[in-house]
Symmetry: C2
Subunit: 182 residues, 2 copies
Amino acid sequence: MERAMNVFWTRGYHATALPDLLRATKLSRGSLYAAFGDKHSLFLLALDRYIADALARMDVEFAPDREPLDGLRAYFAGYVERNSGANGRRGCLLVATAMELAGRDAEVDRRIGGFFSAMEARLIDVLSRARAAGRLAAGVEPASAARIIVCFVEGMRVVGKTAPTRIISQATGDALLDRFIR
Amino acid sequence: MERAMNVFWTRGYHATALPDLLRATKLSRGSLYAAFGDKHSLFLLALDRYIADALARMDVEFAPDREPLDGLRAYFAGYVERNSGANGRRGCLLVATAMELAGRDAEVDRRIGGFFSAMEARLIDVLSRARAAGRLAAGVEPASAARIIVCFVEGMRVVGKTAPTRIISQATGDALLDRFIR
DNA sequence: CCATATATAGACCGAATGGTCTTGAAATGG
DNA sequence: CCATTTCAAGACCATTCGGTCTATATATGG
């Protein structure tokens, strides 16, 4: 299944043909349809998996027993990593799906919208904890900072498709974080 | 031609079929191929037009005889507008193309990369002028602020696909700008 | 008014699409 | 050791894809 996810990830939904999925999953045509229904259902499964992985990663990074600022730094570092070199060129299944399918596929809409809310909620939480610890710069609101960060990291995934240079991504992330913390 | 651009804009490259283009351009199959070569060439033309429009808009917003901060506010307001309601759901041809085709189509790569550089350059310029006028907050570097803003606005285009609410976009943009200016 | 150029509608092409179904081989279990 | 289930390989299906080409209608120009 994650093999299927990888294909959708690197090629996108429309550009993924059935033979691509068969090759990746090493399943026969019949078995794939028996197991997953059809291409669309399989795609939704892959998308769910991708989302679950992303949120699970955040839950580790933002674990309650960890310094909120360390969590944020790890979170940004993760995006830098995923945005550099080959990883960057591969892009992000979520962003690609949002651009390709959102607004035309209700199932996709729900998942994408849900993911952004979930990510925002986690960011609000960690930023609130940072503020409680007196580590937020004056005038920074967790809610709006969280929305800014969501847009920023997703935008990195877009820009990173053609300019995946680690050092600049790193510096840019640091610079944004610097505007929020003290 | 801009009719063709509109179709690619709302549907994406792969999902745009020839009949869609014929309906939009009101051209016959033969005439369309005589005029533009093939689907791919027509798409590149549409992308060029989209990019030219975006850069021309920035040149107006960031005109030298205008207050840099007013220019930045207009720039953000433009993204809020394009990100709200139906406009938001329609998305952004550039972001969609970056996710769908970048890394697999050299012509597209050049154009997308060129656009991001051009946007960044314009932002650096307007931010430098703001700094010269003493309107930048302490510690804000035009170059890194420009890169942050590029990521931020492109990320808005992604998030806006499923959550295109004007008020929140506006507030979020304002909040980011607030971190940069004084 | 006729000759020529132009653009239309749409037939047509091979290839590829997502999806189904048949056939045969390989396991599995009693 | 045989009966049964399971799965793989791939033939097959209708449809659609991008692209070409022909026949027809509409302008255009002398």
